[in-house]
């Protein structure tokens, strides 16, 4: 105690100094508005920093609980996303979504847009009339497609109209198709009856595919480029001679209400086909 008193007596001026400085500080920050405002903002910043540090420390310790909550929420959201995706797929598949994709695919080629002015689906040999003709650049044997997929082939052309043989023509329509992603090809044929069902014939027996896969044009003709949608495989049958498969295809194009079509007028398809034909002819001649 005596030592403490001695210490206090020896260094008493320190305490007086500190006291006076504190008093000056109080006066300075209390009665000078500028210093007061600077002090307040600095104090706020300092307090804010300390609070932030404190909350950082506390939040670190509660991380495991937050982690659990996040994992639960994640699972719930993932479930919801997959449900919504399924619902969306059910509502939009083979309609708008497919249409947009098909139109985007077709837009890489030269197209002549047209409207269907006459159409039949109940006959065995149906025909379709569109409102574009020679004057618009349409020629015979040009392919016709729509946003949902394949429509048919131009048969007759006048100045302003054209007659199209649709896929729903039992005697004249034979479009070369292939299974998307697999490459196995055959020919699309319609036998009448249901206007939404056709058959792809001559698919080899060693072909590997699944039900539900898409069928598209093969590109082996001068009429359609490869990749134009035809339909979806619904059933598989053996051919009459048992040497190949016959695929029952649900056509993607609804021929009963097709209105807006486009005529594929890309010359490169015809040029390619002509070159292939010339090569075949020359090989045949050499063999003879």
């Amino acid at each position: 105690m005596r030592n403490l008193l001695d210490f206090l007596i020896k260094y008493h001026h320190w305490f007086v100094f500190i006291l006076l400085e504190v008093a000056s500080g109080v006066l300075l920050f209390q009665y000078n508005s500028y210093h007061n405002s600077v002090w307040l903002s600095s104090a706020n910043a300092a307090v804010g920093t300390i609070n932030q540090w404190e909350s950082g420390v506390f939040s670190y310790f509660s991380l495991s609980k937050v982690n659990e909550q996040l994992a639960e929420r994640n699972m719930y959201l993932e479930r919801q996303v997959s449900q919504l995706r399924r619902l969306y797929g059910d509502l939009t598949k083979d309609t708008t979504e497919l249409q947009r994709k098909e139109l985007a695919f077709l837009s890489q080629y030269q197209l002549i847009p047209a409207k269907v002015v006459d159409n039949t689906v109940h006959k065995t040999d149906n025909l379709m009339t569109i409102d574009k003709g020679r004057a618009d650049g349409v020629e015979a044997d040009m392919g016709v497609a729509c946003g949902n997929g394949i429509v048919g082939v131009v048969y007759l052309v006048s100045d302003h109209y054209s007659v199209v043989i649709p896929a729903l023509n039992a005697s004249s329509s034979r479009i070369s198709c292939a299974i998307r992603g697999r490459g196995y090809f055959g020919y699309l044929h319609w036998y009448g009856g249901d206007p939404s069902v056709a058959y792809v014939e001559d698919v080899p027996r060693h072909a590997k595919f699944k039900l539900g896969e898409y069928v598209e044009t093969s590109g082996f003709s001068s009429i359609f480029p490869s990749g134009v949608l035809v339909g979806k495989i619904e059933q598989v049958y053996n051919s009459s001679d048992g040497l190949s498969y016959k695929l029952k295809v649900r056509l993607s194009t609804d021929f009963s209400c097709v209105r807006d079509v486009c005529v594929i007028s890309d010359k490169s398809i015809a040029e390619r086909a002509a070159l292939m034909q010339a090569a075949r002819d020359s090989i045949n001649v050499k063999q003879k």
Partner: protein, 166 residues
């Protein structure tokens, strides 16, 4: 001691009046303001009771502040200078100097007095204008004001001291 206190009181009042009535209105080139009252802190003798020095300087500072509308500014700076002055004097005092040596031109010599007064004045002005601005954004302006005010204060201080010493 009583006489000494009276002398100190007289200096206190003289410096206070001079500062408040005359020197506070001097702004040379819009930057230099003489802060002559720091002379009060410089001239305390060696081994003067430190608490008295502190209180005296603090009171002088407070009075100047009241008339300058800057409560706490001069008071805080004067208290700091009063705290530092004894240590500086001890450094400058020779071994054979008296225990209650006066701090003046005659007693410690011109060189040491110039050094002591220069250091304290300059340090005081730096501190004063730093706290007044409370920001180092315009540090050049701060240095300019501190330096010019210190020079002016020191010139006045030396003039008074030379008259006192005769």
């Amino acid at each position: 001691m009583a006489l000494e206190l009276l002398n100190r009181l007289a200096m206190f009042l003289a410096l206070f009046v001079a500062q408040v009535l005359i020197l506070n209105h001097v702004h040379l080139f819009d930057v230099a303001t003489p802060l002559l009252y720091v002379y009060f802190a410089i001239t305390f003798r060696r081994n003067f009771p430190k608490w008295m020095m502190l209180v005296g300087c603090f009171l002088l500072g407070i009075l100047v502040d009241i008339f300058s509308s800057t409560p706490g500014l001069a008071a805080g700076c004067m208290a700091l200078v009063a705290f530092a002055q004894p240590y500086l004097v001890e450094r400058l005092a020779s071994r054979d100097s008296a225990v209650d040596m006066e701090v003046s031109l005659k007693s410690i010599g011109i060189g040491k007095f110039i050094f002591l007064s220069g250091v304290i004045t300059f340090f005081y002005c730096l501190l004063f204008f730093a706290i007044e601005a409370f920001s180092f954004f315009d540090w050049l302006v701060w240095l300019e004001r501190a330096f010019t005010s210190a020079v002016l204060t020191w010139i006045l201080l030396m003039a008074i001291e030379s008259v006192r010493s005769k």
